[in-house]
């Protein structure tokens, strides 16, 4: 075999999560009333644009979650294939040029020279201190000073060109399908699409897609010959680091929720449903947990884990496995400290639900507690769970950055936004300033968190019965403007009680 598959702990959990989400969406598709709020999410323009963006991040994250060890040439003494100690992912393979083209040290974005002066030997034997040419970045240029700008412009234009070509093809394909679905002519359908007169916000999605495709192709065109976001201290490509960080952020955001949910659901519903001493115990537990500074708790737990890992090196075949275990542990500890908020919400909702008459009716039938919880209470609190998890996601991504910055986050060998920012701390203090690492990390994280937040907003609007009226209101107002004034036709006026209707005092 040319490679040996490696399934890291977090990989396995991500696969489970993917299976769960697929199963859930299949289930939702079947039942009309569960589909309805998702349709409302689908009708939110900002939500769907954010979702398109999120999808891009998720695809990169998933590609980065399929790991293997490539085979090395040659065999060991017993004739077995030997595999590299380096664990790669599919994404690593795709981004091989980014990964392997390592410069000596810092270089600015799209530069053909190093960022530090070097002593080089001149052909005539003399020595000079100057900015030497990069090994890979812009190496195809004869005279960077003259050609660099033109080359970059050309490549950018080509990138935009490819993007537009692909986008037009996409729009045409989509419109053909839409036209067939709505039984309209191609032109009519295109017109509807352009004016945004569709229930589903295709226009917003397509605009987002156009921007994303342009950026993507520009990056691809440039990245083949330049370092788009420059290189870091040891000459590694910052773009590669930024892209690798996405998986870490997604894992932290998604897996922590997965770990937190059982606690919050079980304890919250139990506290609200059973009341009495069970409620007291659960309430005291989360009040206590809440009053311990969570950074302290996380720091203590992570350091303990670190000691364990270092004393048992024989358990880990590769460094990736070591780093991964630490990441998983961070997810667990974050999950253990963050279930209290959702638990509190669920307890309150259950307290309200348990007094509902359908629950009382179930009691009158002697339905068991477990069935009441699973059939009556759980489906009726799911909207809260969904809103809370989507909203928590971005908070957790940010928390990882902060924890890694403090030094209790992920393993230093693991690439994450936190470690990138931590590294950039010193570079900012350097003279001349190395600004691109921080900007790249900031840009990617900002886009991820912003799109997650916008999507969470759309989900909340669709699922929260209280805000539903607000979004409806705006759509109604929009429609009102479009369709009115209505005819004020005169109707036959009914004769009506004249003024001298007899008046009698009430009895």
């Amino acid at each position: 075999m040319p490679f040996e598959p490696v399934i890291l702990w977090t990989d396995a959990l991500i696969y489970i999560l993917v299976v769960l989400v697929t199963a859930l969406s299949w289930h939702v598709r079947r039942s009309e009333h569960m589909l309805a709020p998702w349709r409302r999410v689908g009708h939110s323009a900002s939500g769907m644009s954010a979702f398109t963006l999120l999808l891009f991040f998720v695809v990169i994250g998933l590609l980065d979650s399929v790991h293997f060890r490539p085979a090395l040439e040659g065999k060991n003494s017993s004739g077995e294939q030997i595999y590299s100690a380096e664990v790669l992912s599919i994404f690593d393979v795709i981004a091989t040029p980014l990964r392997t083209r390592v410069e000596k040290t810092y270089s600015a974005p799209l530069s053909a020279h190093l960022y530090a002066k070097e002593t080089i030997e001149l052909p005539d034997g003399g020595r000079a201190r100057e900015f030497s040419r990069l090994e890979f970045g812009g190496s195809h240029l004869e005279d960077p000073k003259k050609q660099l700008f033109n080359d970059i412009t050309q490549r950018t234009a080509a990138g935009v060109g490819y993007a537009i070509l692909l986008w037009v093809l996409l729009v045409a394909w989509l419109n053909t399908n839409l036209a067939r679905h709505h039984k309209l002519s191609f032109i009519q359908s295109l017109r509807n699409l352009w004016l945004g007169e569709m229930a589903f916000p295709w226009r917003a999605i397509l605009i987002t897609l156009a921007i994303m495709l342009s950026l993507f192709f520009i990056t691809v065109m440039l990245a083949s010959h330049y370092h788009v976001f420059g290189t870091d201290k040891v000459g590694q490509d910052v773009l590669y680091h930024s892209l690798k960080s996405i998986r870490t952020a997604l894992v932290i955001g998604a897996l922590t929720t997965l770990i937190m949910l059982p606690f919050a659901l079980l304890l919250g519903i139990m506290a609200g449903y059973f009341r009495g001493w069970i409620d007291d115990v659960i309430q005291y537990t989360y009040t206590t947990l809440n009053s311990i500074p969570s950074v302290l708790l996380i720091a203590a737990a992570v350091l303990m884990m670190q000691v364990y890992i270092e004393t048992h090196p024989e358990l880990f075949e590769t460094t990736a496995e070591r780093a991964d275990l630490r990441l998983l542990f961070l997810c667990i500890i974050l999950g253990l400290t963050s279930w209290t908020g959702l638990c509190r919400l669920l307890r309150a909702e259950t307290l309200k639900l348990r007094e509902m008459e359908y629950i009382q009716a179930a009691h009158a039938f002697g339905v068991s507690h477990w069935r009441i919880i699973s059939r009556h209470i759980l489906p009726n609190v799911m909207h809260i769970v969904l809103i809370a998890t989507v909203m928590d996601f971005s908070g957790l991504v940010l928390a990882e950055a902060v924890l890694s910055y403090v030094g209790v986050g992920v393993d230093p060998s693991m690439i994450s936004f936190g470690t990138m920012i931590n590294g950039a701390r010193l570079e900012i203090a350097r003279e001349p300033v190395v600004w691109w690492t921080l900007i790249a990390a900031f840009g990617f994280m900002f886009t991820l968190v912003l799109s997650a937040n916008l999507f969470a907003d759309a989900v909340q609007n669709a699922f929260d019965p209280r805000t539903k009226t607000l979004s409806e209101k705006s759509s109604i107002l929009k429609r009102k403007k479009r369709h009115f004034p209505t005819s004020r036709e005169s109707e036959p006026k009914p004769p009506f009680p004249s003024a001298n209707a007899k008046k009698t005092p009430p009895s």
Binding site: Q360, N380, I476, P495, S498, A499, N500, P506
Partner: protein
């Protein structure tokens, strides 16, 4: 005499997410100075939208698309919003149905009334306080000097409604719009509030637009009546004319669907079908599909107003004199009530349920270690027997503990003391498991059909749940027959509850209870959330089920006319205890206990001959955590004696069935 409010051809649309609903469609009314004009109609017919259109306080989705509203000759629809604000509260005031929700809980009563005074009269401080006091005294708030600085939660429901009226009166309006002002209140309190509104009107001469669904309230209050159906007015007349001879088939049906003692032996007339959807355009009479007297013309042509000599207007082809030649059969069919097969099950006086001295106390806990500081005595020694196949009604005001009795019989609430014998077996103190085996025999139907069905379960799953839990064999065919039994097509079983109307939901709830073949069903106000015509359907259904299946009902209600219609025996509850008990004819027609007498007299009646003299009850129901000493009723009793303050009266038998707990009668026996 000029009219105060003149609405012409008002059309209000509601733009919901997928269609536009004509909530009010061509409404024309005139209200004179100083008269009470009642707008009568069932829920969803556009009454409240009319009121909100007049105030120009429509929800965002609402829009007035045509018509004119003139107050004293001034066109309200053309006024800018600034002027409209000066008008609201000063010239037109409004009181709402739910007094608990209409007052701001964090402002004192005086502050809330003061706001109105400051806004419209620019008075503040001492003179404002004097005026507030004056208004509060006017609406009969006792001890107003102290109470004006209290917060809404310190007032009872009836008192809050008085405060609302006080706020509405503060601007000295010419027109008061009362949107179901007494629907949320008990009958005794309703009588107080209606009396107050009448008095105020006589004193200040303002006009009242009374919006209600209750024919009784209309009969008590109105000078003129307009009946609204599906967004338009279909009949308009003076009160006397309307109650003497309602003309429109819909009005007739409304009268016929009222339960009462006359309807006991037969079913109530029901209006078939549902209110038509208001999003369609009508080509004929809106009531035609549900009307027994409809003929072709009704479906083809929109009826115009007739031109009667006596100001009794009706919008129906039956009364259109110039077209009467087309009318196929001039003799309007009498509403034929559905006869209920009176195959009474041989009235074996087999006891099904015997409740003795049932007590339910809710402890009030205080302090750090949650020491029991007192008890809310929700049910305090109730004894009842229910024979097989009979209906016992439990009546009383809200808060008297009648629902708690029902739930503690089912052991949904653990009784503190007493015994509940079902078929001779003790239920109190049984473990959950032991109880489960008996659960199939007694079931419950709740008041609110909207909260008694899980919104996320299919109808078939809802009905199956009880069967499955009680290990009954359940198959789809059985569910189909059950649904047919309660009058729903079996195809509906694959739907969710939100696709059904209130009446249909209540039918589903009944089907769910029936699924386990119970011998006793506790009906906890099963019709109080429903319209009159739907109520008639449900009562008919319950009665026919009793006749065919021999189920006994414990019917918990505050509606005495429903009791007259359905019950065999009545127990009247006051503050956790039964004060009078007996056969329905005895108790309702010869009430002994002063409380029963007052309760009965407070029910608004339609027929003049049934009219009783209202016995006013002072104050509200006392708190069950600190009931008055002696007889619980003595602080409100018009016939209280000194002994009433000291000891609780013993049970006195009036005749073989009727018993009463009152000193008036125990004394008579002694002497």
């Amino acid at each position: 005499m000029s009219s105060l409010l003149e609405i012409k051809n008002l059309k209000t649309m509601l733009h919901t997410s997928n269609k536009s609903v004509r909530a009010v469609d061509g409404l024309t009314i005139k209200i004179q100075k100083g008269e009470t004009f009642a707008l009568l109609g069932e829920s969803g017919c556009g009454k409240s939208m009319t009121a909100l259109s007049i105030m120009r306080l429509l929800p965002d989705a609402g829009e007035i698309v045509a018509g004119s509203i003139k107050l004293s000759g001034e066109e309200l629809l053309l006024l800018p919003e600034m002027d409209m604000r000066n008008l609201r509260g000063k010239h037109i005031s409004m009181i709402f149905q739910e007094p608990m929700l209409s007052l701001n809980p964090v402002m004192t009563i005086a502050e809330q009334i003061g706001e109105v005074l400051h806004r419209h009269f620019h008075i503040r401080g001492k003179s404002s306080n004097e005026r507030i006091l004056e208004i509060l005294n006017q609406v009969g708030i006792p001890d107003a000097v102290q109470r004006m600085h209290e917060y809404p939660f310190q007032f009872s429901g009836g008192m809050k409604q008085r405060v609302m009226i006080a706020m509405a009166l503060a601007g000295e309006p010419e027109l008061l719009i009362a949107d179901e002002p007494t629907t949320a209140l008990d009958v005794t309190i309703q009588a107080q509030v209606l009396d107050l509104m009448r008095n105020l009107q006589q004193r200040s001469g303002m006009a009242i637009l009374l919006i209600t669904h209750d024919l009784g309230v209309v009969a008590e209050m109105a000078h003129r009546v307009a009946v609204m159906y599906a967004g338009e007015i279909i009949e308009s007349a003076t009160r006397e004319a309307f109650f003497k001879t309602p003309l429109h088939p819909y009005s007739k049906k409304l009268f016929a669907s009222l339960p009462g003692k006359y309807s006991r032996e037969q079913g109530l007339a029901v209006i078939s079908g549902n209110v038509p959807s208001l999003s369609q355009t009508f080509t004929g009479c809106r009531f035609a599909d549900r009307c027994d007297d409809a003929w072709d013309l009704c479906h083809q042509k929109i009826p115009l107003w007739n031109t009667p000599p006596d100001n009794h207007y009706v919008r129906c082809h039956l009364f259109n004199t110039n077209q009467s030649s087309n009318q196929p059969n001039a003799t309007a069919k009498e509403p034929t009530p559905i006869p209920i097969v009176s195959q009474k099950i041989a009235s074996t006086s087999n006891e099904l349920l015997r409740v003795t001295n049932l007590k339910v106390y809710f402890p009030i806990r205080k302090g750090l270690i949650k020491r029991i500081a007192g008890n809310v005595m929700a049910v305090d020694g109730v004894s009842l027997t229910i024979p097989q196949g009979k209906t016992i009604a439990l009546v009383g005001e809200s808060g008297c503990g009648k629902t708690t009795v029902g739930k503690s019989i089912l052991q949904l609430i653990k009784p503190t003391a007493g015994s509940v014998l079902f078929n001779g077996q003790e239920l109190v103190g049984l473990e959950r498991k032991q109880l489960r085996e008996k659960r199939a025999d007694f079931q419950i139907i709740f008041q609110d059909p909207y909260s008694s069905l899980n919104p996320r379960m299919l109808i078939v799953d809802i009905i199956k749940e009880g069967m499955a839990a009680l290990n009954n064999h359940s198959d789809e065919a059985e569910i189909d027959t059950l649904l047919k039994h309660v009058g729903l097509p079996p195809e509906t079983k694959r739907r969710y509850p939100h696709e059904f109307s209130g009446g249909q939901r209540q039918r589903i709830a009944i089907a769910r209870a029936l699924a386990v073949n119970p011998k006793l069903i506790i009906c906890d106000e099963p019709t109080s959330a429903l319209d009159v015509s739907v109520q008639a359907q449900i009562l008919n259904l319950l009665k026919s089920l009793q006749n065919s299946l021999g189920i006994a009902y414990l019917f918990i209600t505050h509606n005495l006319s429903v009791v007259e219609h359905i019950a065999d025996n009545v127990a009247v509850m006051y503050l956790g205890r039964i004060v009078e008990q007996g056969c329905v004819d005895d108790v309702l027609h010869d009430p002994k206990h002063p409380y029963t007498q007052a309760l009965l007299s407070a029910v608004p009646t339609i027929n003049e001959k049934d009219k009783r003299k209202v016995i006013p009850l002072k104050g509200d129901l006392p708190s069950p955590s600190a009931p008055p000493s002696g007889c619980h009723f003595h602080p409100r009793c018009p016939q209280a004696m000194s002994i009433c303050r000291e000891t609780y009266p013993e049970i006195t038998a009036i005749n073989s069935t009727q018993t009463v707990q009152c000193h008036l009668y125990s004394q008579k026996q002694d002497s």
